[in-house]
Symmetry: C2
Subunit: 363 residues, 2 copies
């Protein structure tokens, strides 16, 4: 396995400017293969904190692996990276398909790198189902950012559950931060449960919208408007400008109907055109205002800690449920009990009690 | 215990117009005591379906009891009541304190009973903490409804968890329906998690609001506006009328921004004055429109079935979590692990893994 490293893909890895010394003294290039997870956790960690993209990618592959030994190694690396103190901002970006997320991220990412930042683009999209699905397409569309040495675009990870995908993305954020990326953009698709997950792993949550206040504004998931720290109306250019301005007025009104946020931040509505690259600087200025306020009032740090606790509870909850729903007795009896419940023969409470009894007997 | 039934409270029970025959032939009045749960499940069931309010109240007390044998008996009664097919509508009513919930329920309930309906008023308020807290006060304020023979007001049940309280309320709904109450009003307080719970146990969810579109509208919990089937602006009378009309325009606009509901129902905004008893009939007419649409398109029945499944899953989830968080090893180690997490020494995933290991070893 270790020495089969002569395909085209592997060669590109050798172009990386940093190559850590191997502690075993072996021929290093033979180890640097995406499909071989044989590199030690220490080796990968050292590479990551020196900004080696190939090793970062390999570590992320371990994070995303379903194999126990990969997971264990990934956990070691991520834990070490956690100790590597960095200063970063994590920005969630959501919006319905067609709103121009890729174009926005391309323009925004390029703008940020020009200011000297290092930008990582990740995505949470458990609905895609296909490995390296939606965001790989985006990568090809983010032509300039994809070729920008100060940017790192990671294809969407696959996963059987949102919890799993979200956990992988959170560990990937830690790895990217340790690798020196100080701005993390986490994209999500604007439908389903993934926004809540992304909201719970970022510092700032940005909702992209289309101009117009009618049907165009529909289709966004319930509750997203309320959790957004900003609504950025994209495609505010040319003929759409009047509609975009009207949408801004209405969204400002809607946002004022919501109760104040714990962060003391009053959500903003901005216009931009990712295509014409207008309004991009204002978005970054706004995020800096947010950072100033929330770092001063302590919300920024407090929020990150409470996000950690949130994910601890989410992970426990998911593991408990998995154990329950995959219990053979529960699986076998679920249809019968659910059917009795549907027909009002038993109460929900009684159905739960019966299933819990079966579970506790077996587990 | 059984024979200590001579206090004032018990005498009021004897005034009930129905008194079922005791199967044991004992002196019935000695059994009909709120604090004695000695009546058989069959006896209570028979009383309930004949509309006996005292026995209904006793059965609800069993539902709310924390004692296992009471719970078991309650479960028997509720299960039998489930088979007793009835036609009912369950309406959730929420709104911030001060919006006039009690006045509205008094006016609405009186209106409904005058049309020949039997109305039960329940409440979900886990935050009150005190047994018979907020709604008992309301009962004294709902003077007419409280003395109306076609109405039944049940004080808020206490409970250690929202899940527990919600489950009790759902079983209480079943008992009230079996007792002939065809309209169930479930009140909640407009803050915290209780609205989601009430929303998941009713057919129609009504949000009461105050006139005005500025600060007065704030304070309502995030997401409530989106799940409401109707926003009723109360206190639309006198000087507040112009403000109420403006609020109606704005809320209509806000509601149109949300995606269509599964029920195909387009949420409405209505004005009313519970004090002047104006607009009350329109609320009932609207609910009837909703019932017509959702019974025709099948949503009404489908929703009740999916609510049952929702509560089954919620109950299982709560029981799994209780078992975990009350596990002695988990309790003992939680502070240390949570502290390490707060200090970024371990990841959320690693923290969860360690706790799960402790849990699985012990349980």
């Amino acid at each position: 396995m270790k020495n089969k490293t002569t395909n085209k893909q592997d060669k590109s890895h050798h172009a990386d400017n940093y190559m850590p010394k191997s502690s075993t003294g072996g021929i290093l290039k033979n180890y640097i293969v995406k499909k071989s997870p044989a590199l030690s956790a220490d080796f990968l960690y050292e590479g990551i904190i020196r900004g080696n993209i190939t090793l970062l990618s390999q570590a992320i592959t371990l994070v995303e692996s379903n194999q126990k030994k990969h997971k264990a190694k990934a956990s070691k690396i991520v834990t070490r990276c956690l100790q590597h103190k960095t200063s970063s901002v994590r920005i969630g970006i959501t919006g319905v398909p067609g709103v121009g997320k890729s174009t926005f991220i391309e323009a925004f990412g390029m703008y940020l790198t020009e200011l000297g930042n290092k930008v990582a683009v990740l995505a949470v999209d458990p609905s895609s189902g296909v490995r390296k699905g939606s965001i790989l397409a985006d990568k090809t569309r983010m032509e300039h950012l994809g070729n920008n040495p100060r940017a790192y675009i990671r294809p969407t990870a696959a996963g059987s559950s949102l919890g799993g995908v979200a956990n992988n993305t959170r560990e990937t954020i830690t790895l990217c931060e340790a690798a020196g990326f100080n701005i993390i953009l986490v994209e999500t698709v604007g439908v389903g449960q993934s926004e809540t997950a992304v909201h719970a792993m970022v510092d700032f949550f940005l909702l992209l919208q289309l101009p117009g206040a009618g049907d165009e504004l529909q289709g966004i998931k319930r509750g997203i408007t309320e959790i957004a720290d900003a609504i950025v109306i994209n495609k505010a250019d040319g003929d759409l400008m009047p509609k975009a301005k009207l949408a801004k007025v209405i969204f400002n009104r809607v946002l004022h109907l919501y109760p104040p946020k714990q962060s003391d931040w009053q959500p903003k509505v901005l216009l931009c055109s990712a295509l014409e690259k207008s309004g991009i600087g204002a978005v970054w200025k706004m995020i800096n205002d947010f950072l100033k306020i929330t770092k001063e009032n302590g919300y920024f740090d407090k929020n990150r800690i409470s996000q950690n606790k949130y994910w601890l509870k989410e992970t426990v909850d998911e593991e408990l449920k998995t154990a329950f729903y995959e219990n053979p007795e529960v699986k076998k009896n679920w249809p019968v009990i659910a059917d009795a419940l549907s027909k009002n023969k038993i109460t929900s409470y009684e159905a739960a009690r019966q299933l819990m009894q079966l579970y506790e007997k077996k587990s």
